[in-house]
Symmetry: C2
C-alpha cells in the first residue's frame, strides 16, 4: 500500500492508492462536515444536504444522475456521519472519469430544486420512521444522547421530523456554502486509477468550492446519563457506554484491543459468559468509537424481557475482572484479530479508501500498514489492565435501552458495581 | 478466474479458485441440507445443527474452537439456507490448514453435549426474538409462507420456539448422519491456496461422513396467498411476490434483468416512481430469488401508515407498463449493473467462494465469468417484456405485511389489477 497524497493550493487533499491488479475503482469525496457541525435548529441538515446533492445539478436532473452512473453499472452512494459526509462510487476502471465528473457536479453545481426538496423531506421522514422500527439502531441514537446530552454530537444524524420539515432551499444552500470549503475536502481513490487524473479532478472540484477549511465545532463532554424507551418488543435492546478515547489519543489502539478482548468475537469474555455459558442472548458485542476529541467504549446486547436484568452485572463483572485478570494470551488473540481484520480490509478498495479518508481527517496523513500493525502489536496486557482500571475509576456510565426493560437495573446501581456513584 | 474442480471417490466435490495476489483465503464447506429437507416436526433442525457444530468436538471444546481460530485472527462462521448450510472461514494464508482442520473437526467429530444443547436452544430462541424485532426481516419469513403455504420451503429457517425447544441430542445426531453425506458436500476455497492441499482436506473430510448424496425434498408449489400481521410499528413493511423461475431455468438471467429494471437501483422504475417522484418511502426494491425447482419475483417496501395504500398500485402499474413499454435503454442499463456487480464480486474471495458453491449445487459445474457475462448480455428488451407478460398472465400474487397495514389493499384487489382473479 503506497498512497500518494497531494495538498492542492486550494487546501483540498487528493490521495491515490493504486491497486493495479483490480479492474475496478473505489473513490469518493469526504467532507469535514457532519451532525457535530450543526446548531440545534440545523439538526439533520448535513444529512438533508447529502440527500439533496443527488437531486439535480445545473447539468443533470436527479434522474440523469441515476441513469448515467447505472448505465455503466456503477454504484454511487453517500452517507452522513457525525464529523464527515461522504459521497462515494464504485465503478469499473474505464468509468472512473465519469464517476469523478458526476461527484464533482453534484457537489459544485447542485440546484436544490424546491419540488425535489419537498419530496426529499418526505423521504427522510420515512427514513427516520425506518430507524424507529429498527430497535438495534434506535438504541444507538439513544446511547449517543445519553453520553452527550444537549450537544451536537449527541443528537441523531437524521435530525427529527420537526427539524427536517422546516429546512428550506435557503438553509441547504447556505449550509453547503458555509461548510463545503476546499480545505475541508478529501478526494481519495483506491484501485485502478492514477494520481494525475485524481489531482486533475481535485483541481476542478476546488474551483467550485468556497475557500477555507473545516468549521470548528464545540468540544464534546461525555456526561453519562440514561435514555430509556419502554416498548412492546420481543427483546430488550440494551446499550452501555463508558468514556473512551479520541482517535488520536495515545491509547486509541489500546481501546480497540480492550473492546476486542471484552466483546469482539466468539472467544471474547462477554460472548463466552453471556451467550456460551448462560444462553442469555444471541447478540452481544463491545466496541470502541472514537471522534476527534472524545470517544466511548460500549456494549450492545439484545435479550428477552426475562433475561434483561442479567446483562448489566455481567458487563460490570467482566470489566472489573480485566483490571487484574487480563491475560497475555487473550490480548495476543485480540491483537491477532485486529491485525488480520486490518490486512483483509486492505484487500478491498472501498475499505482502503475509507481508511485513507479517516487517517487524513484524524492524523493529517495516511498511516502505513506497517505502522498500524506496529501500533496494534505494541498493546500488551498491562496496558489493557490499566485501561480497564481507568474505566472503573471514571465510572459515570451511560445507559440506553429500548423494549421491555422493566428488569434492567438503574444507572445508579450499575455505576455502584464499579464502586462509583453517578455524577 | 480458473477454478479446478475434483470429484472425489466419496462423491465429495473439491473446488479451488486461486487468487495469487491475495494474502488471505476464503474457504468453506457447503452441505446440500437446509430447511427444505425438514419435516414439519424438524423445522429449524438444520439451523440447530449448524449452531451445535460449534459447540465442541471429540478434540476441542466450544471455547477451544473459538480460541484456536481467533488466535490467528481468523473468522469462522456459518449460515443455514433453505437448500444449503455453509460453514466458512476467512484466514490469512499461513492459517489455511488450521481453518480446514477446524471445519473438518466440527463436521465429523461433533459431540452434541446435552448441557451445550440446552444452552443453545435458549440462544436460538433469542435469535428468533431478534427476528421478530426486525420487521424488514420478519416480513420475508411471512412472504415465503404466503408463497409456499404448508411446505418445507415456506417455513422459517429458524423453526419456531416450540420445535426448537423439542430438539434432543438424538434428533441432531440422527439428522447429521442422514443429511451430511459425502456426496452432498462441496469444499471450496478462493484466494491464497493450492488445489492439492484442498483435495487432501476433502479426503480427510470424506472419511468422517456417511456415504451417499443429497436427500430428496418435496417439489415446491408456488400457491400465492397472504400473511398479514397488524402491529403498532412506525412503518408498514410490505412484500409482494409472483411466481419466478428456478436457478437453472432458461429465463433465470431474464428474471434478474427484469428485477433490476423494475427495482434494482436508483434509476429503476420503482425507485423513480415511488421514492423520487412521490416521496412515499425510503426503501423500495425488487428481487429475483431462485431455488432448485422454483423461484419468486418480489418487491419490498417500507412506508408510513398513511402511504401504505399507494405502493401496491404502483408495483402493478410498473409491471404492466413493462409488458409493452420496456425500453432497450433501460435493459442495457440493467445488464450493465448486473455485469459490473458480477465483475466487482470477482474481486472478493468470499463472494467467489459463494458463487462457486452455488454453481456446483445448481449446475453441477462452475460457470466462467465469460459465460456469465454472455448470459447477461443475451437478455434483451423483448425477453423482459415477455417475462413481464408472463407475470401478469400468471397472476396469483403473494402478499406479506407487518405493521400498520389498514390501508393495504386486499390480495384479491391487487390480483385484479393484473386482470386476474386470485387462485
Amino acid at each position: 500500500m503506497t498512497v500518494t497524497v497531494t495538498k492542492l493550493a486550494s487546501g483540498l487533499t487528493v490521495a491515490t492508492d493504486p491497486m493495479p491488479h483490480l479492474m475496478s475503482t473505489a473513490l469518493g469525496v469526504w467532507v469535514s462536515c457532519g451532525s457535530r457541525h450543526e446548531t440545534p435548529q440545523e439538526a439533520g441538515l448535513s444529512h438533508m444536504l447529502e440527500h439533496m446533492a443527488f437531486k439535480g445539478t445545473e447539468h443533470r436532473s436527479a434522474r440523469d444522475i441515476a441513469i448515467e452512473i447505472e448505465s455503466v453499472g456503477g454504484d454511487l452512494n453517500a452517507y452522513t456521519g457525525r464529523e464527515q459526509t461522504a459521497f462515494h462510487a464504485r465503478v469499473l476502471k474505464a468509468d472512473t472519469g465519469l464517476a469523478l465528473d458526476i461527484i464533482s457536479d453534484i457537489l459544485i453545481h447542485p440546484i436544490f430544486d424546491e419540488t425535489e426538496l419537498a419530496n426529499e423531506r418526505d423521504v427522510i421522514i420515512q427514513e427516520i420512521g425506518q430507524t424507529r422500527d429498527t430497535p438495534d439502531d434506535l438504541v444507538f441514537d439513544h446511547l449517543q444522547e445519553a453520553c452527550y446530552p444537549e450537544q451536537a454530537i449527541g443528537r441523531a444524524i437524521f435530525g427529527t421530523e420537526e427539524t427536517v420539515a422546516g429546512f428550506s432551499r435557503a438553509d441547504v444552500s447556505a449550509y453547503i456554502g458555509k461548510h463545503y470549503r476546499s480545505g475541508a475536502v478529501i478526494l481519495a481513490a483506491s484501485g485502478a486509477i492514477d494520481h494525475d487524473k485524481l489531482v486533475e479532478a481535485g483541481e476542478m472540484l476546488s474551483k467550485g468550492l468556497s475557500e477555507g477549511s473545516e468549521r470548528a465545532f464545540d468540544p464534546a463532554r461525555f456526561e453519562g446519563g440514561e435514555v430509556l424507551e419502554r416498548e412492546a418488543l420481543e427483546q430488550a435492546h440494551l446499550a452501555f457506554a463508558f468514556p473512551g478515547v479520541s482517535s488520536t489519543h495515545q491509547d486509541a489502539f489500546t481501546a480497540q484491543v480492550f473492546a476486542t478482548a471484552l466483546g469482539g468475537g466468539m472467544s471474547s469474555r462477554l460472548f463466552q459468559e453471556a451467550r456460551e455459558k448462560r444462553g442469555l442472548c444471541y447478540s452481544i458485542y463491545a466496541f470502541s468509537h472514537s471522534y476527534r476529541d472524545t470517544g466511548l467504549i460500549g456494549v450492545y446486547s439484545g435479550t428477552s424481557e426475562a433475561k434483561a436484568g442479567e446483562i448489566a452485572p455481567i458487563i460490570a463483572a467482566e470489566i472489573e475482572a480485566m483490571v487484574s485478570g487480563t491475560t497475555g494470551e487473550e490480548i495476543a488473540r485480540a491483537r491477532a484479530q485486529l491485525k488480520a481484520s486490518l490486512l483483509m480490509g486492505l484487500e478491498l478498495p472501498q475499505a482502503r479508501c475509507e481508511m485513507i479518508a479517516s487517517h487524513l481527517y484524524n492524523y493529517g496523513r495516511v498511516l502505513t500498514a506497517d505502522e498500524l500493525v506496529q501500533r496494534i502489536e505494541s498493546v500488551d496486557a498491562a496496558a489493557v489492565k490499566h485501561f480497564a482500571a481507568r474505566i472503573c475509576e471514571t465510572g459515570n456510565p451511560a445507559i440506553a435501552a429500548v423494549g421491555p426493560i422493566r428488569r434492567l437495573e438503574s444507572r445508579e446501581r450499575f455505576a455502584k458495581r464499579f464502586g462509583r456513584a453517578t455524577a
